[in-house]
Amino acid sequence: MGLFILEFAVAPLLTTSLGDFGSSFIFLPIWALATVMILLIKHHNLTPRMGIVRLRLTRQVRLFRLSIALLIALVFFFITGTLALMEMNASIVLRTIFMVAMALIIFSVAAHVLQQNRLFLYGCMVALAPILGEWLWVNLGVVHHGYPLTFGIACLTIITTGITKFILFLKRYTIPVEGME
C-alpha cells in the first residue's frame, strides 16, 4: 500500500524526464517485486509462526460474496461519480471533494472488513494529501502541487509502520516446532 502511494509522491518528479506514461509505468516492476516479496514473506515467515487454518465452506462462500458485493459497490460508485463529474463539467474543488471521499470510503471499508483501525488513519492521510498539497503549492510555492511532500509523508508513514510492526511480530513470535516447548 505504501509503495502504491509512493507513485503519487515520486511520479510528478519524474514526469519531466520520463513523461506522464513513463513516470507511472516505471512503478509496475516495483509493485510486481513487492507482490512477490509479500508472498514469500507469507510463506516463509507468517505461516510457520501462526499456523494454517481452513475456513468452512459456508464461511468461505459468505466472505467471497461480501468481497464481491463490496467491490461491485465501490466500482459502481467510482464510475458513476466520475461520469457525473465529467457530465457536470465539475470544478476542481468538486473533483477534489469526490476523490477525497473515494479515498476515505475505500480505506474505511478496508479498515472495517480487515479490522485494522490504522487504515482509517492512512485513509485520512491519503485523503488530506491533495488538499494540503494544493494549499502548500498556492501559499508556499511547493513544486508539483505539493504532492511529493504530502503523499511522500503518507507513504513513508505507511511503509515505516508496516516494517516496524513486522519486526515486532518476528520478535514476539518465534517459529514453533510441534511438540517442542
Partner: protein, 109 residues
C-alpha cells in the same frame, strides 16, 4: 421433607452436561475448531495459548472421545499435524451449546 429434590429444576440439567467439552481448555479448543474446517497444531496453540504438553493431553482426550480427528504428516523433517472436528464432535458441541444456553437463559436476573 426438606431433603426432597426440586423436580425439573433447570439447573439439574447441568449434571448431564458433557464433561469432556466442559473443561475450559477443551471448550476453548472446540469453540475455535467449530467455526473452521481444519487447522494445524501451530494455529491451535496460538489461538488457545496452551503449551504443547497441555494441548496434547486435551487433544488426546478429544480424540479418544471421537470429537476430533488428527492427521499426522511431515513438512520437510518437521512434524505437521492437522486437526479436524468430526461430525460427532460438532453434534456434541451443538448439544452442549444448546443446553448451556437454555440453563443460563432460564436463570432470573
Amino acid at each position: 421433607m426438606t431433603d426432597e429434590p426440586m423436580v425439573d429444576h433447570p439447573l439439574q440439567q447441568l449434571t448431564d452436561i458433557d464433561q469432556v467439552i466442559h473443561a475450559p481448555a477443551r471448550l476453548m479448543i472446540l469453540s475455535y475448531r467449530y467455526v473452521v474446517e481444519s487447522a494445524d497444531y501451530v494455529f491451535v496453540m496460538r489461538t488457545t495459548g496452551l503449551t504443547w504438553g497441555n494441548l496434547a493431553t486435551h487433544l488426546n482426550k478429544l480424540e479418544e472421545e471421537g470429537y476430533v480427528e488428527v492427521q499426522k504428516m511431515h513438512k520437510g523433517k518437521k512434524p505437521h499435524s492437522i486437526l479436524r472436528m468430526t461430525e460427532k464432535g460438532r453434534s456434541a458441541f451443538r448439544s452442549y451449546k444448546k443446553m448451556l444456553k437454555q440453563v443460563l437463559d432460564d436463570l432470573p436476573e
